[in-house]
Amino acid sequence: MRERQTQERPPEAARGAARPAAVELAGVTKRFEDFVAVDDLTLSIYEGEFFSLLGPSGCGKTTTLRMIAGFEDPTEGELRVAGRPMRGVPPYRRPVNTVFQSYALFPHLDVFENIAFGLRRAKVPKDEIRRRVSEACALVQLTGFERRKPARLSGGQQQRVALARALVNRPKVLLLDEPLGALDLKLRKEMQIELKNLQHELGITFVYVTHDQEEALTMSDRIAVMKDGKVQQLDTPANLYELPANRFVAGFIGQTNTFSGEVESVRGERVTLRTAGGLELEAFAPAGREVVKGSEAHVAVRPEKVRFGEAGDNAFAGEVRDVVYLGSSTQYVVELKGGERLVVYRQNAREAADSGAGDEVWVAWDAANCLVLGE
């Protein structure tokens, strides 16, 4: 059985095809004995792009990053950085630098020497080292901490040292492995913005590994969603959210309601589906997504795209089971007549009528917001 992920070509990617690639992976596979950690990965990361590898723990993100950095060699396939094949090139000769998950700062060196480490290895003149390290310190707001040892810095400061230590070398590509994972929420949000600004200012290609979908959505130009060593979808944040390729992506990026059923009819992009519970659903299949009449299909609708009321391509009666106040919106769980449960978000506004648990309601959504998912 050959399994192939659906690969629509979004307009951004098509436009980007003309851009030079900073990192290219062609059929890259990594096996640890019998275990396949990365499975036949083919993708291009463009110059100056903020590219994220997103996926649950153990899906092969770190392994992919380590192959780019040179700590692991691909079992199969080819890897190029800045157009140069990387097979057999040791990490210290690659034009990339890494911000490690645990920072891996040198405990015996102070902040200045940590940041200067790469420049000293590159035999940069002393005056220039002093100048560039000062600049890097200023960039990450560490001026005045040059003579501190890492053990006497806070987590956020250590993170900045790790960042400065990598950036000061002006790499072609900066690899970041869950760099904000150890920080608390508030600091993480601040650093997300700072990192994004920094990347924009410096124009360096960032390859960013995270398991946090929100983080990936807010920071990235493009995201590769991974599962079990395979890319499920490579797209812009908006496309990932609005047009998820399959059930995994739809469920991993944001919250979603999915229904499964048999395809009753296909008229161009419009698809009619009948669920086991007897619901008749009008849905939309993006171009290139093959839907065959009589086959099983899955559709997804985002909670914020469902309205209360009877107007819409899909309208069903149900009963409110649960109400959770979320601040800017309220989350309702509505049980439909067929037994399906549906999550609905409604923006909190003064004029909106409140529904409580046990109320009979109608919910509706449009076919355009009800997407047929690939396998």
């Binding site: 210290y92 000769r93 990339v96 630098n97 890494t98 490690f100 290895r121």
Partner: protein, 292 residues
């Protein structure tokens, strides 16, 4: 109120601490400090013709230490101890490095092998070397069997035999602290160094080695100090050829019965070692060890 409470708490602590430390303090006082003071007192005494000792303040014993005859022995043993430390470091570092980083699941077994010699007395092991290196011993017979030599050659009772014996018996004291400090070394730091452009060689000298300095210092002290005072190995493997300070002291106490001079020698050796350690730790210790 709060201050009062704090003081009470502090007092409780020091009482408890004193209680816990009492046995160790007693032990060290009776079996370490008292003999040390005794030796110090003896070193200023005067030995009688038939042994025995009259206490007093007699600096002559110390002047005798600087007699070229004895000074030469002290200098030589210091050089031998230094050489022993360097050889142990040169052999022990790669060994500890290999076990710590490449040992995998064999780590514990390998480090146990390093410790196996401790299971028998040093005396027994030194005698085993006498048997091996002797005129008709295993080493000579093997050399002849392989056709490398025609007849027995002198292996034992040479400075080289003493050196070999010292390295053999002190190597574990170097390997164990080195292993302990390399074992807890974070391998990700090596990757970080390589990521920043350091070759394997640079990674070792800039990151791995500086971070293993506590092990290097501990191992060097553990080898240097006792080997400078060693007397069993030079006695058995060096014969009359390689006399070390330890043998000299032993002779003064057991043969010459000049306890006063023996004590002065012992005090001098202790002072010398203390000075050497202080210089050593000052030079490569403090600033690099800080924050590790």
């Amino acid at each position: 109120m709060a201050a009062q409470k704090g003081v009470d708490k502090g007092r409780g602590w020091s009482l408890g601490l004193a209680g816990l430390l009492a046995p160790a303090a007693f032990w060290l006082g009776v079996f370490f400090l008292v003999p040390l003071l005794l030796i110090l007192a003896y070193s200023f005494g005067t030995s009688g013709v038939y042994g025995g000792i009259t206490l007093g303040f007699n600096p002559e014993n110390y002047l005798k230490v600087f007699d070229p005859l004895y000074l030469q022995i002290i200098v030589r043993s210091t050089v031998i101890a230094l050489l022993n430390t360097l050889i142990c470091l040169a052999i022990g570092y790669p060994l500890a490095y290999f076990i710590a980083f490449r040992g995998g699941s064999w780590k514990t077994a390998l480090i146990l092998l390093v410790m196996i010699p401790f299971w028998t007395s040093l005396l027994v092991r030194a005698y085993a070397w006498v048997v091996i290196l002797g005129g008709n011993g295993l080493a000579n017979r093997t050399l002849q069997f392989l056709g490398i030599t025609d007849g027995p050659i002198t292996l034992i009772f040479t400075p080289q035999a003493v050196m070999m014996g010292l390295v053999y018996s002190y190597l574990p004291f170097m390997v164990l602290p080195l292993y302990a400090s390399l074992e807890k070394f974070d391998a990700r730091l090596k990757e970080a160094a390589q990521d920043l452009g350091a070759s394997r060689w640079q990674t070792f000298w800039r990151v791995t080695f500086p971070l293993s300095l506590p092990g290097v210092i501990a191992g060097s002290i553990l080898v240097f100090i006792p080997s400078a005072g060693e007397f069993v190995i030079p006695d058995l493997l060096g014969g009359s050829q390689t006399v070390m300070t330890g043998n000299l002291i032993q002779q003064q106490f057991l043969n010459a019965r000049d306890w006063a001079f023996g004590s002065a020698l012992a005090v001098m050796l202790a002072v010398l070692m203390l000075g050497a350690i202080l210089i050593y730790v000052r030079r490569i210790g403090t600033d690099r060890l800080e924050g590790v």
